[in-house]
């Protein structure tokens, strides 16, 4: 067992882990963060996507100790003070959630994209979501949701910082 120290959803976490396990297993079973899903367990489907220092990665093929000293965001860390994140709202409004298994991962990839580009092109959206398999939505609803989310985030910024902020 090894001591793992990292930041998960803004909180310092210290936990003893078996270094042969994957990050997704520790997140789900030791930390109880079951919002992160495990589909293929081989880096193919994207269900286990989390943000590691802000970047989307497949947590199922990451040896858990790789999180040492790093910053992790899972779907549970998105809502603030009980209020959904604009991307989460947009996914609901655009009907982009069906069975929901791929959704946490897709939303985290969306977050990373919208942080890089305020107003991503269709091409950038398609590329950013290319590592996610969804067997329900047909993807078009994701694209609508991302565009809606970009608008919501821009509105929120305007409301917080005023015009031109």
């Amino acid at each position: 067992m090894q001591a793992l120290k990292c930041v998960v959803n803004g909180k310092d976490v210290e936990v003893n882990v078996d270094p042969s396990r994957s990050l997704v297993d520790v997140l789900r079973t030791d930390l109880g963060l079951t919002g992160t899903k495990k589909g293929c367990g081989e880096g193919e489907c994207g269900a286990c996507t989390i943000l590691l220092d802000g970047k989307p990665v497949n947590s199922c093929i990451i040896p858990v100790m790789k999180a040492q000293g790093r910053n992790i965001l899972t779907i549970e860390g998105l809502a603030e003070a009980g209020e959904l994140h604009p991307i989460q709202e947009a996914f609901i409004e655009a009907g982009a959630v069906q069975c929901g298994f791929c959704t946490p991962g897709v939303i985290l990839s969306a977050k990373s994209l919208l942080e890089e580009f305020e107003n991503p092109s269709q091409e950038e959206i398609t590329e950013a979501l290319s590592g996610h398999l969804c067997r329900c939505t047909g993807y078009l609803q994701f694209y609508d949701a991302l565009k809606l989310a970009a608008e919501k985030i821009a509105e929120k910024k305007k409301a917080t910082y005023g015009y031109g902020g």
Partner: protein
């Protein structure tokens, strides 16, 4: 049934190997420290970079290690340095980092495009150049362009340091001459060709994302006084290592880079040289042979077009 002693011992070793679990994951801060750790754990330790391949191999029992020596926190392993005659790439750079680097883009679009084709965005954020070299899959989209660019690797280990041509590091599918229990790649050196040069990468896969290539190809052309003075044409997977179409390369020497007929002829020769196998996953050998011609031709036309 009796089992003679050596078979019994071998079985035991194998069984022990299968159950050998990762017991510690270490983060050396310097390359020297990393070599010391390999020495200390004598064969039971193994270098890990992104770990995306290794993690699955460990799970499937295709590899084993008690100690993982992680190089991703060593600063030099992530450096990218431009010199007057070459680029030096840290093997710990992720595919995403290489793909988005403007200096790499300017000199070696083949490498940018290759790195951008690896796996998915989530894989490109973890997987590294060095890791892909040591994984030794013949059609790795980041490695095929490096071979076309004539890259060299500096390797440091228990018995000192050496520099070798990347294309000579392949032993077989999944087998590299770099032994991750004894040594580590410390730099990847890509020379800027003298004079005018152009390079390009092309691939075809069943889908545009998260699919292994059916065929990929990378080329580099160097031009001197209006004539092609050097050509490198690499395609995969048609052999156990990235395949250099040497006859096709030779036939381009002395030709004008603007001569489309000559470029097409070279692609045809590459098709004749390459011997892709029938594959249930990738398609028939015949089909893939035709693709070698098409992709080499595309890459040559683009490389020649970029000469300006």
């Amino acid at each position: 049934m009796t089992i003679n002693e050596s078979t019994g011992q071998a079985l035991e070793r194998e069984r022990a190997g299968r159950t050998m679990k990762v017991a510690q994951h270490l983060f050396p801060g310097k390359i020297e420290e990393c070599i010391e750790m390999l020495a200390r754990y004598g064969g039971n330790a193994r270098i890990v970079a992104g770990g995306t391949d290794l993690f699955l191999w460990l799970k499937e029992g295709k590899a084993s290690a008690e100690t993982l020596v992680d190089v991703s926190c060593i600063k030099e392993m992530k450096a990218l340095e431009e010199r007057s005659d070459c680029l030096i790439l840290g093997p710990g750079l992720t595919h995403a980092e290489v793909a988005s680097n403007p200096v790499v883009r300017r000199y070696f679009p083949a490498l940018s495009d290759g790195c951008r084709s690896v796996g998915s965005p989530q894989i490109r954020n973890i997987g590294t150049l060095g890791g892909n070299i040591v994984s030794a899959q013949p059609a790795a989209d980041s490695v095929v362009p490096l071979v076309a660019l004539g890259a060299e690797c500096e390797i440091r280990g228990l018995s000192g340091s050496r520099t070798e041509l990347l294309e000579e590091l392949f032993l077989g599918v999944g087998k590299s001459r770099v032994d991750p229990t004894r040594e580590v790649i410390t730099r990847i050196i890509v020379k800027k060709p003298e004079g005018k040069s152009g390079n390009a990468f092309a691939r075809i896969a069943p889908r545009e994302a998260m699919a292994l290539p059916v065929i990929n190809a990378a080329v580099q052309l160097t031009v001197d006084a209006g004539r092609i003075s050097a050509a490198r044409i690499v395609t995969a997977p048609v052999a156990v290592a990235p395949f250099r179409a040497r006859k096709a390369e030779e036939c381009l020497i002395g030709k004008q880079p603007g001569s489309i007929g000559d470029l097409k002829r070279a692609a045809k020769i590459a098709e004749e040289e390459a011997k892709p196998r029938d594959s249930l996953v990738r398609g028939s050998g015949e089909y893939r042979k035709a693709l070698v011609k098409d992709l080499v031709e595309q890459a040559l036309l683009r490389a020649a077009g970029s000469l300006g």
